[in-house]
């Protein structure tokens, strides 16, 4: 019996040599977050220790993601297969510049949220699992960015979805349950459609490995099924990314959870939908994208305009921000609609920018609420005198989300507009610029009313009204609130002033997506 075992040549089906140490970076973020999540659940009653465990785990994830991005930039696309089975049999984890960049940005945003939550999440809510859910959310998001297997992508979607449900209802208030019903039902339907599309794709090409799918779809003569699948994927991921007209769950639910929770939702969740669209539309089914290009363009512009007009129409600042998330999604979709290399790198740059800016903006809203005691644009006011530093941060963040220079959003929009003009799609470029103008009005109004004006809406010019009872003073605001706000703002300014680094990473990511030979080579060549 022993003799027959040695006679089997395993090298035909398995990776026989040991995995290089650097490739473990691919799974390190997932292992770390899973272990951290388990540890925080075990220590669920030690609510004082929880933030420190979570912060140290996320810091390790951040370091590992920096190393991974560095590894990808110097060595090209990296692949590791589970259980050493050769792809397409083993589940592959494949990191290209796009995935590594977004994974890194996601860990930065999560770290800021974990620090911010130290003082804004009550001890009993920590016992109900804020930090375990946060870690598992990061686990799901990072897994989605790094996996190279489409069914595995579905599993990561479910991991992040169930964690987000837990975070959504943290606090157990009426409005939260109301918001959770809408959020949960629509997101679950979207992922189920994604699963259905994946099942059909498997029936079509007989494989789930993304590199393998990209090769086999290209060799397909009959394009009908591919176009149908691309449409189904577009619907499923559009729903997750909150694209018009399937975006109404977002403003209905994003203002209900704790604001730190909303910050991480707005930063990460919709971007995962955009990321999945990039993978499926550009890497897997470029033919489907070409066919759908006009539809995606119309959807993108409608999404941008809904976002911008919705932001203008809201009195509640939290809901204004929810519409700004939607406007950003529209801008990212417009890059997919245009589809050339400049526009795709614009989408990647914008996704990265959007993770940082939307997290920062919701943290800013939480800070503004602490300072003023209200979310209503009619009642808020007088914050400039009370916190000049806060007013400065707010001005930078609000101008950055509208895409004004010299902040990070400007370069992303520049790439998107340049790409649209290069591809002779002036109407897409016009949509981006028009929504940028409307967004500027919406955010400018927030800054003028909340910071510039002396008090609520009846305050006469030049008079400083008394603050609303119960609102904090600037000296009461703890370092755990200032630190994430300042770090995120600094990142946005630094990327805006020195955009070359992120721009070249985005271009590299776009190049790998449009011409997948490197990606496919990494999966099939590197392991053999």
């Amino acid at each position: 019996m022993a003799a027959t075992k040695t006679a089997i040549d395993l090298s035909a089906a398995m990776v026989t040599q040991a995995v290089p140490l650097a490739d473990w970076l691919l799974v390190a973020p997932i292992l770390l977050t899973m272990a951290g999540g388990a540890l925080t659940i075990i220590l669920r009653k030690k609510s004082a220790a929880q933030p420190w465990i979570a912060i140290s785990v996320i810091s390790l994830v951040l370091l590992s993601n920096i190393a991974l991005l560095n590894h990808v930039l110097s060595n090209g696309v990296v692949t590791m297969v589970m259980g050493s089975w050769l792809p397409p049999f083993g589940i592959a984890f494949t990191a290209d510049a796009l995935g590594a960049l977004l994974a890194l940005t996601a860990s930065v945003a999560t770290l800021c949220v974990a620090i911010f939550a130290m003082n804004s999440i009550a001890a009993n809510e920590r016992r109900y699992g804020f930090y375990p859910f946060l870690l598992m959310l990061l686990c799901g998001v990072t897994g989605s960015f790094l996996t190279g297997d489409i069914f595995n992508l579905y599993v990561w979607f479910e991991v992040l979805l169930i964690s987000s449900f837990g975070l959504q209802v943290l606090g157990n208030e009426k409005t939260q349950i109301d918001g959770a019903v809408k959020y949960a039902v629509l997101n679950l339907i979207a992922t189920t459609l994604f699963l259905a599309a994946t099942g059909l794709l498997y029936g079509l090409v007989g494989t789930l490995n993304m590199a393998d799918i990209a090769t086999k779809v290209k060799a397909f003569d009959n394009s009908g099924p591919v176009l149908g699948l691309a449409t189904l994927y577009f619907l499923a991921f559009g729903m997750k990314a909150a694209a018009f007209p399937v975006n109404f769950w977002l403003p209905a639910s994003y203002h209900t959870p704790r604001l730190v929770v909303t910050a991480i939702f707005a930063g990460l969740l919709t971007k995962v939908g955009v990321y999945a669209l990039l993978r499926v539309m550009i890497l897997l089914m470029p033919e489907g994208r070409d066919w759908l290009a006009s539809l995606i363009g119309v959807v993108a512009i409608a999404t941008m305009l809904t976002g911008a007009f919705g932001a203008l129409a809201q009195t509640d600042i939290r809901r204004t921000m929810a519409y700004l998330v939607i406007a950003g999604i529209g801008a990212m979709l417009s890059g997919i609609a245009v589809g050339n290399q400049v526009a795709i790198s614009g989408t990647i740059f914008y996704s990265m920018h959007s993770v940082l800016i939307m997290t920062a903006l919701y943290l800013l809203v939480a800070f503004m609420y602490q300072m003023s005691g209200t979310f209503s644009l009619r009642e808020i006011g007088g914050l400039y005198i009370r916190t000049p530093l806060g007013a400065g941060i707010a001005l930078i963040l609000l101008l950055a989300v509208a895409g004004l220079p010299p902040f990070s959003g400007f370069w992303a929009k520049l790439l998107l507009v340049a790409g649209a003009l290069e591809a002779d799609r002036g109407w897409v470029a016009f949509g981006i610029l028009a929504s940028g103008l409307l967004t500027t009005i919406a955010v400018g109004r927030i800054w003028i009313f909340a910071f510039w004006r002396g008090g609520n809406e009846n305050t006469v010019d030049g008079i400083q009204a008394l603050p609303i009872a119960g609102s904090a003073d600037a000296s009461d605001v703890s370092a755990s609130i200032w630190l994430p706000l300042i770090v995120l703002t600094a990142l946005i300014v630094v990327i805006g002033v020195l955009p070359e680094g992120v721009m070249s990473i985005s271009e590299y990511g776009a190049k790998t997506l449009i011409d997948p030979t490197v990606y496919i080579g990494s999966v099939f060549g590197g392991a053999q």
Partner: protein
């Protein structure tokens, strides 16, 4: 065989869509349950149906001797069943809590999270 299953999947999708369009939360949850099962059946069918030949390689050979049933869709469906089951459990609790807290299972009346009265944003400084 595949045709029959395809029709069945279509019927299940139709029923699920009908229930999802309902106003009552309980019916929506039933629709989600049926939708999950419809997709499971779809994956199973998409992996081609082969009866009576389990995917087992005989002793002393490296390859199966004849075309066997495809084991991969079964693994996928198993994963999907576990996930959809746990989600359904969460949804049932969520629906029950929503009924307890909000006093209704009619989604048109579930408007606690919406702004109470329509305040327009300030138009002038």
């Amino acid at each position: 065989m595949e045709t029959l299953f395809a029709v069945l999947v279509g019927v299940l999708f139709g029923g699920a869509t009908y229930l999802l369009l309902s106003r009552k939360l309980v019916r929506i949850l039933l629709g989600i349950a049926i939708l999950g099962n419809a997709v499971n059946l779809l994956i199973f069918t998409a992996g081609r149906l082969t009866r009576d030949v389990p995917p087992i390689i005989p002793v002393n050979s490296y390859l199966p001797v004849e075309a066997t049933a495809n084991p991969l869709p079964q693994a996928l469906v198993l994963t999907a069943i576990v996930i959809s089951f746990s989600f359904l459990t969460f949804f049932l609790v969520l629906g029950y809590r929503a009924y307890q807290e909000l006093g209704t299972d009619d989604i048109l009346e579930m408007r606690v999270a919406e702004p109470k009265e329509h305040h327009e944003p300030p138009l002038g400084y």
